[in-house]
Symmetry: C2
Subunit: 316 residues, 2 copies
């Protein structure tokens, strides 16, 4: 897809028109060659956005926090793209994104773009689509890209790894057991936010976080702990400041490049996996091969090697 | 590796000698061609073990429950292999497996084999190694294979998907927010266990679970909720019974075959990914390619396609 084609296919994309952006992200979610071409086209324009992730359990007030953070950016005349990422499940459904509806005020601002993204069932598919969407929003010139996701597991860890600065949101009164559940999320935090900090138990939560940080060993960057009451707008300036300091640290230490290199590696690995599966399917029929192998009791290493050889044979 | 070679390499493996089993699992963790050959060799002998997973948050009493469950099996003269799987992190470390040490009694029983497995950093590596180890324990003739893991995220979901029956352990007094955190784990439960059911809040937890189950929509199998006090041995017989009923349901409904087919698919996909990455590395030097691409600002789709073509070219 050439630049002309992109402009024809998604009119107003580079002017950040909501309709064009929405259709482009749908193309990203759908996958396939049109997605590949879109990302190839916009990729070279990336690199100016500050990319930030917000994660934490349901009820932590992430949407309100992101809302307030976005308003702060807008007050400084910076444009904001928001991706609200939800791992769809029969139990949580899209309900976790219900909060988004409340952000009426932001929806009317043409320089704020908000989009929900949900799992389409494919393993790692959501993380890949989110990474692509972040690239798109960066490329079309948003000053900030905010990725909001509910912290439930590996898929969300993969999602937030696509950002430069990760804010982990927690609440007063969550005890040791809860913190341990979230261990996988904790270790990727660049900034901790104790939201709803007007509630009892805030000191206890702060101590828990501090002792966990002490257990985590030495790091170049010690994640600051910021207390907020997002619904009142309290603590947002401090959060903004700490995010700025982290961004500076990333640049100074070379960590920004390391993170982005790591992201490239993960993305390339995921795409390579998809390519080999697609090729195996086109050549031999993946489903048929798996069914025959299952019936014959073949072990997975033998099956994988057979498919891999089939792919290579086809191409030669 | 022929059967003779296996017997020479791991003397006493098929007699379930602990030393041989431990060395074989180390071979599985290490990966490579020796692992492939081992699994190829033992794979045909699988199929008799009942394979069960126990997952839940730290502090839920999983180890004690598994301990008691294993004793019940032993009382019926059934042999038991236990895999305690821990997602290593700077925050949780190996600490989650500390409980295992307490299981002194079981350690002295030659027909109980216990092994800890921890993440080696590789994405999906732990799930793959666990699946292979389950095959091994099944193949050498254990009547039960119990997989115990801490429920923190996708990696653990992948781990428990390797089993036939998943018991999700929870505690009285964990509120809505906590349940939501564990949503990803909840939906894979075949049996719910409320452990420490002598504590206050057990009715509330049961109601929470029931309403979550109602939200989850119709399924062929409605996961029963079993209350236990594992430290006192209470409720274990009921758990054993429910697990038996679930096993019967799996067989009658054809679900057992569907699950095992799904497991084969996941394993083949993971191995195929590893194969293509290995081949790309051998042919072009994966690290060098990634570094050059990063320096040049190449997009991940272009990089992946270049590597894929390189792999195919080499093999032809």
């Amino acid at each position: 897809m050439s630049e002309t084609t992109i402009s024809e296919r998604f009119p107003g994309l580079y002017d950040r028109r909501a309709r064009a952006l929405a259709r482009a992200i749908t193309t990203i979610e759908r996958g396939g060659t049109e997605r590949d071409a879109l990302i190839r086209e916009v990729y070279g324009r990336r690199g100016n956005a500050r990319i930030m992730g917000f994660t934490g359990p349901p009820g932590a007030g992430k949407s309100t926090l992101v809302d307030r953070f976005a308003r702060l950016c807008r007050a400084a005349d910076q444009t904001v793209g928001i991706l609200a990422v939800d791992p769809t499940s029969p139990f949580t459904g899209g309900a976790l994104l219900g909060d988004r509806i409340r952000m009426q005020e932001l929806y009317t601002d043409p320089e704020v773009f908000i989009r929900s993204m949900a799992t389409r069932g494919a393993m790692g598919g959501l993380a890949r689509a989110t990474r692509d969407a972040v690239d798109l929003l960066d490329a079309v010139g948003f000053d900030w890209v905010l990725v909001e996701t509910v912290g439930v597991g590996q898929d969300e860890v993969d999602v937030v790894r696509t950002v430069d600065t990760v804010a982990v949101i927690t609440l007063p009164g969550l005890g040791d057991e809860i913190q341990a559940i979230k261990a996988g999320i904790m270790e990727i935090a660049d900034v901790f936010v104790i939201n709803k900090a007007d509630r009892p138990g805030v000191d206890r939560t702060r101590r828990d976080l501090e002792s966990m940080l002490a257990m985590g060993g030495h790091r170049d960057w010690t994640p600051p702990i910021v207390q907020t009451v997002a619904s009142q707008g309290e603590g947002l300036e401090e959060l903004h400041e700490k995010v700025g300091e982290h961004r500076q640290h990333l640049a100074d230490s070379g960590e920004l490049d390391r993170r982005r290199f790591h992201q490239l590696r993960l993305r390339v690995e995921t795409i390579l996996k998809a390519r080999v599966l697609e090729a195996a399917d086109a050549e031999m029929g993946l489903e048929t091969q798996l069914e025959e192998a299952f019936g014959a009791g073949d072990d997975p290493y033998t099956v994988a090697d057979r498919l891999f050889e089939g792919v290579v044979r086809r191409q030669s």
